[in-house]
């Protein structure tokens, strides 16, 4: 069985090479049948990699410890759910997952475009399959999941207990769905550049792909933060760790791209900038994948020191080199169709948005790479930590947030300044009034106040937009307020979906502000029966019990939590000793509410059962996760296909459906 898996991987490798070669050949010789053959090969790669995945999955579930991978990430006692998740728990398996997602995306792209974009497809196929080759090469040559052990162990090592957590199970797949997703826009960009078909057609073809990739990346990043918060026990969710940064950077440029793309669609401007953004986003995705796996940067996240580095770097240099060469070659054809009509316009606010986002990205990149550069150039190792990132990114982030409030108030092309001033009035007043209230209630932290003020402002502008839009809709077609509201969103999914996403971002900022500025941290030492007061919570330490489970031994403390004499909840922070790992893990006890999180870990205990607890009170963290959900909702609305209110003009050919759509098409 395992031999089939290994063979499938090898066949996939060959098929991918074939696909690249025949696709490019077919483009050169203008032979459609060759390109069709390349498509078949792409389907083949998907099928073969799926076979490989199935074989590994089977081996995991059957506890086939002949395979080194299976032995290293699973054990007999592990719950089945985690045995399956162990598929991507280690280096080889996670690369296989990455590859499989890429193959799946490629197959979907084939299906979507079997009658479209024919000039672009050969290059799209070649680009996607070259990426597949990178991973196939690494899997076949260096990190082969089918490596066998000289002696079959009786039991496997098991998955690191830190990874045996539902959040950790879905965090990597989400991130990969994001990273890999950006390969598709990149492939189309290369296709447009290589084929010379540089009109906005390629951009429209990838619009949903970009949104989907961005969505998954956003979810992946938030899940990573949530996992860190709930599992790692240091009371926070983001540490500007190089690997965290590696996922954040493509998110930043991806967000910039999502916005600047609209300018190209509406005014035919920023063509070169958009190309550069797509290439950059994809390069950062690959770079991020590389950082996580090569051990180049001292990171708490690092995989094994592996020899994969050269493969990634070679691929990255090659693909970016080709992309840039193509871009330079097509530069003359990428001139703008129009110019900016007015500085006070939505277009220019989008431009500022891009500048901010790319600025933050460069700051993060600098902070992440500086240690390596410094070591290479001066031989001195420097480390860049949170203070740097916070100092630079907080002002930029707040500026960006403010911009997201200003932008909806401005019209496309040219805004009337008088209207603008009037439109500013309501949200600014709301913000001012409530911020003043907060101040009188005791909130004095300057940055927090500024942040809340901006959040309120942006919230105000979003509400205003929905209000005015609903009113306008009602004026046109009557009906109840609710009907007008729904109809408004249905006809302008992109715009209003976007506003909802912005609202989600506001909530996230609220959560970050509260938990950063007003976190309370306290150590308490308690004998059984004693109580302590932290913030407004009374924690009574009842007892410490010892329990044996199938894979670990646990020491569980029981803490009764009350406030103002009223019982709130009982929390159970733990220390666990997993038999297979021989090292303790700490389980966080968490009580969440919209206002405050009560977060407790047991730092240690003595034989007398006297225990030391580290207690955090984190305000408003709840809103971060809420904001994430809202962002997902907003993106779903934006992605949903729009009904066209008009029957499109009768088509000359089926292929022109997209292009001659009637004015009812809402973008």
């Amino acid at each position: 069985m395992n031999d089939i898996g290994g063979a499938a991987l090898l066949f996939a490798f060959v098929a991918a090479i074939y696909a690249v070669v025949i696709a490019l050949l077919g483009a050169r010789l203008r032979r459609q049948e060759m390109i069709r053959s390349a498509e078949r090969a792409t389907y083949g790669v998907f099928g073969l990699v799926t076979i490989t995945m199935v074989v590994i999955l089977y081996a995991l579930l059957a506890h086939d410890f002949r395979l080194q991978y299976v032995a290293s990430v699973s054990s007999r006692a592990m719950p089945t759910f985690y045995v399956i998740a162990a598929l991507w728990g280690g280096q080889e398996g996670s690369m296989l997952l990455w590859l499989w997602l890429l193959a799946m995306y490629s197959a979907i792209v084939m299906v979507q475009n079997r009658h479209r974009n024919r000039e672009l497809m050969p290059y799209v196929i070649a680009t996607l399959m070259t990426t597949a080759l990178l991973f196939l090469a690494m899997l076949v040559i260096v990190e082969n999941p089918f490596r066998q052990l000289p002696q079959v162990p009786r039991d496997g090592q098991g998955l690191n207990p830190l990874l045996q957590n539902p959040l950790m199970v879905i965090h990597p797949p989400n991130l990969y769905l994001g990273f890999v997703g950006f390969a598709v826009p990149f492939a189309f960009a290369i296709g447009a550049l290589a084929s010379g078909r540089l009109d906005t057609q390629w951009i429209r073809s990838i619009r949903r792909w970009t949104l989907v990739a961005w969505l998954f990346l956003s979810i992946g990043i938030l899940l990573g933060g949530q996992w860190a918060y709930v599992e790692l026990g240091w009371g926070g969710y983001w540490a500007w760790d190089p690997v965290e940064n590696a996922s954040f950077m493509p998110w930043l440029t991806g967000t910039a791209f999502l916005h600047s793309v609209m300018i190209q669609e509406k005014k035919g401007m920023l063509k070169v900038w958009n190309m550069a953004l797509v290439i950059l986003t994809y390069a950062l995705s690959i770079f991020g994948t590389f950082l996580t796996r090569s051990g180049v940067i001292a990171s708490v996240h690092a995989f094994a020191q592996s020899s994969l580095g050269p493969y990634f770097l070679l691929y990255l240099a090659g693909i970016v080199g080709i992309a840039v060469a193509l871009l330079v070659k097509r530069l003359p054809e990428l001139r703008s169709d129009h110019r900016l009509e007015s500085v006070v316009s939505r277009e220019s606010s989008f431009l500022f948005n891009n500048l901010f986002l790319v600025g933050i990205m460069f700051a993060v990149l600098w902070g992440t790479l500086f240690p390596i550069i410094s070591e290479a150039v001066r031989g001195v190792k420097i480390s860049v930590a949170a203070p740097f990132f916070n100092q630079v990114n907080i002002p930029l982030g707040l500026g960006l947030l403010f911009l997201s409030g200003v932008c909806p108030l401005i019209a496309w092309r040219k805004a009337s300044v008088r209207n603008l001033r009037r439109n500013f009035l309501y949200p600014l007043s709301l913000s001012f009034v409530i911020t003043a209230m907060l101040y009188t209630l005791g909130i004095r932290h300057v940055v927090a106040l500024i942040s809340f003020a901006i959040c309120l402002f942006v919230f105000g502008t979003i509400v205003l937009e929905f209000y005015r839009g609903t009113r306008a809709r009602r004026a046109v077609s009557g009906g109840t307020v609710w009907q007008a509201f729904v109809s408004l969103i249905r006809r302008n999914r992109r715009r209003y979906g976007g506003y909802i996403v912005h609202f989600g971002v506001v909530l996230i900022f609220v959560g970050i502000t509260g938990s950063s500025a007003y976190q309370i941290e306290q150590n308490v030492v308690l004998h059984p029966g004693e109580s302590a007061l932290v913030d407004t919570f009374i924690l009574q330490y009842d007892d410490l019990t010892r329990m044996i489970e199938s894979t670990y031994e646990a020491f569980i403390a029981k803490l009764t939590v009350s406030r103002n004499g009223k019982y709130l909840t009982t929390l159970y922070p733990e220390k666990r000793l997993y038999f297979a790992q021989n090292q303790p893990t700490t389980e966080v006890a968490l009580r969440t509410s919209p206002f405050k999180d009560l977060y407790i870990i047991m730092a240690g205990f003595e034989p007398s059962k006297t225990a030391t607890f580290k207690v955090f009170v984190n305000p408003l963290v709840f809103w971060m996760w809420m904001g994430g959900l809202v962002m997902v909702l907003g993106t779903a609305i934006a992605i949903w296909p729009e009904r066209r209110p008009y029957v499109p003009a009768r088509q000359h050919t089926a292929g022109h459906v997209e292009m001659t759509a009637a004015p009812g098409t809402r973008i």
Partner: protein, 103 residues
């Protein structure tokens, strides 16, 4: 902030006193003192040739034990002991994560 190895710190000890530094090293076999009540961890990092005593105020990381690679951030005091505000463990042999940062 400079990021150094233990031998490098030993060499430049005088110059580095009082400077914020980050040091990577292995926890030696010297006795580890973990005071649960005061959350104070005293240990030594380095190897046979060079050693630095460290005192860390905070929660003992789960992965912390003799022989583990750690990264500490802090300042070396006049007594030659590195007063650490950050202590991170890393386990390069597997896909592992652990973080125990500052106060």
């Amino acid at each position: 902030m400079y990021f150094l190895t233990v031998p490098e710190v030993q060499q430049k000890l005088i110059a580095l006193k009082g400077e914020p530094i980050r040091v990577a090293g292995k926890v030696t076999e010297d006795p580890i003192d973990w005071d649960v009540r005061n959350l104070s961890l005293a240990f030594v990092i380095g190897d046979a040739q060079s050693r630095i005593p460290v005192r860390y105020k905070g929660v003992k990381p789960d992965m912390f034990q003799t022989g583990v690679d750690v990264i500490v951030e802090g300042r070396i005091g006049q007594d030659g002991v590195l007063a650490a505000s950050v202590l991170m463990t890393s386990c390069p042999s597997k896909y592992q994560e652990e973080k125990s940062p500052a106060l």
